[in-house]
Symmetry: C2
Subunit: 338 residues, 2 copies
């Protein structure tokens, strides 16, 4: 059993904790939290041990009457792997703490590639992470791009990839974030960081991305324009995408007309938290002209990196092959083809 | 004096009517309306003669106590040019009416190119419209794309143009339209109609567009990726765009971070209805890699076609050269460089 801790119980941490609970080769030792809010109650109801993120947090918990299991240092003594789901930018200081505790660590895409020197997407570079002490799971958008570009690259070769990312502005419970009625360039300069981030996983691929925020709370929408080295028909591209792990194809004629129809499908299928772990490509958007292929893709910003975190745990502990791990992860999370 | 009528007093019709009032070589004879609503009052307050769009509408107006000047047929007897701003798809039947009245007509971008055989953007093809009986002013998005691509084409040559359009979902007063919290593919297939529409103005240019709707009410946001025949620096591209008529460059460091900052600037400048007639390009987004150029552009969906309508009136009556007309239009509407 791999003993796992989750440092931070926010958008990603909560999901990773639940996913770890579903793995038969892993034990969730506990999670940390800074604030004694309703999320502590939801963790306790699930039987998850809660630790205070630091001494100050411990005092807050005691003042609120919560009996926590200790602080982060106590958790670190009891785990083989810590998944860092603390706020973006905490990575460098937390890395020192994890190193001092001699605990393997997984960071999220909010940190720089340089923090670990290895940016991870399971189907692209699982084996590179085997036995490493620290890896970084890349962001939701980069994860999705890597899956699709991995498929196109392996099947046809990529000459040039261009992507425009319409990003959801806030998660559903982030009530302080905007915009409400505007498109915000994010950033106004080109390229956005996503292109270089894809390169941190896939090497020297020619990829340029442009990004902006739109007033939605669920799913990013990517418009992809990719020149292939080997000319392909749309049927060949669709066939390749259908075979790619963690990639789902949907069609607008079945009612998938927007990002919210994808989420509604997940709600109907009782997916926990309406989560969608797959990169979702509109089959009817896949078109080719000469050697160029176009497609629309939706990306669930909160969920898509969860399977990558689970696989990263197995990769850095060298406890399973890529195929074994991805298979266990996918079947436990119910990753599906629609 | 060119005697002008406007058939339809909605989003475009109201603006075209006001713009005609500002032209010293034009007389606004009147506008038509179907429903006796508050827009009749606003027209009357401006001293504009209102006609009923048809006999049924005439009865509605009489029942509401409004004294209109007649019906569309009466208006047509008194004008040289009718600007058709009636709902999309009315073009074919209205064309017959205008032809029977021997009145020159201008249609909007909601109609098919084939209706008139000539799709119009002033700086691209003014002279082709001279003396024609009917032209079609293209849609807001196509107008903006044509302006920018005209600049790039004339200065550097275009090898391949790709654009992703994040469309505002509704105009501010369209309270029945969605989405509220979703990105809606529009359409899910690629290409969207905008590429072929650009070709209807600019000929056989290689242009592919992808489009979707986002929950905003003001300004579309275009992400442009254009391969140039002649390699150019970003400074050269910016210089070309600065010289292009009806094109404005803004910078995020001056606070232009979103579509709504552009509109806020128009409000500050007391632009009527907050209108922006220019295609607005973010200077800091203009980037080049090899022979490819990238940029973000904002398009005011309600206003950008207004100068084209005014020029089209002069073009089809052969009453001014392109330069004379564009100059009169721009100075009357206060078209500016920021």
């Amino acid at each position: 059993m791999i003993r796992v801790g989750v440092n931070g119980y926010g958008t990603i941490g909560r999901r990773v904790a639940d996913a770890v609970l579903m793995q038969k080769d892993m034990e969730l030792v506990g999670v940390t939290k800074v604030h004694p809010d309703y999320r502590v109650e939801t963790a306790i109801k699930k039987g998850i041990d809660v630790y205070a993120a630091n001494e100050k947090a411990l005092q807050s918990f005691r003042n609120s009457g919560y009996n926590v299991k200790g602080v982060l240092d106590d958790l670190l003594k009891r785990v083989d792997v810590i998944v860092d789901c603390s706020p973006e930018g905490n990575g460098p200081q937390n890395k020192l703490i994890y190193e001092a505790s001699k605990v393997r660590a997984i960071f999220q895409g909010g940190e720089d590639h340089e923090l670990t020197g290895l940016s991870f997407v399971a189907q692209c570079n699982y084996d590179n992470a085997r036995g490493k002490n620290m890896v970084r799971v890349v962001s939701c958008n980069t994860t999705a791009l890597c899956r699709i570009l991995n498929s196109l690259s392996n099947n046809f070769g990529i000459y040039r990839a261009r992507a425009v990312l319409a990003r959801r502005a806030a998660d559903p419970d982030e009530t302080g974030k905007g915009p409400i009625d505007a498109v915000v360039l994010d950033p106004a300069t080109v390229p956005s960081h996503h292109g270089p981030d894809v390169q941190s996983v896939m090497g020297n691929i020619d990829v340029v991305t442009m990004a902006f925020k739109v007033p939605t709370t669920h799913m990013h929408l990517h418009s992809l324009i990719v020149s292939l080295k080997k000319k392909a028909t749309r049927e060949e591209v669709i066939e390749a995408l259908q075979k790619e792990p963690r990639t789902m194809l949907v069609e607008s004629k079945l009612g998938f007309k927007s990002t919210s129809s994808i989420v509604d499908m997940a709600r109907e299928l009782s997916s926990p938290r309406n989560d969608i772990h797959e990169a979702v490509v509109w089959k009817d958007s896949v078109s080719t002209v000469e050697n160029e292929v176009y497609m629309f893709m939706a990306v669930h910003q909160e969920a898509i990196v969860v399977p990558e975190n689970v696989d990263a745990i197995r990769a850095i502990t060298a406890s399973a092959t890529k195929e074994e791990s991805m298979s266990m992860t996918d079947s436990s999370l119910g990753i599906r083809k629609f």
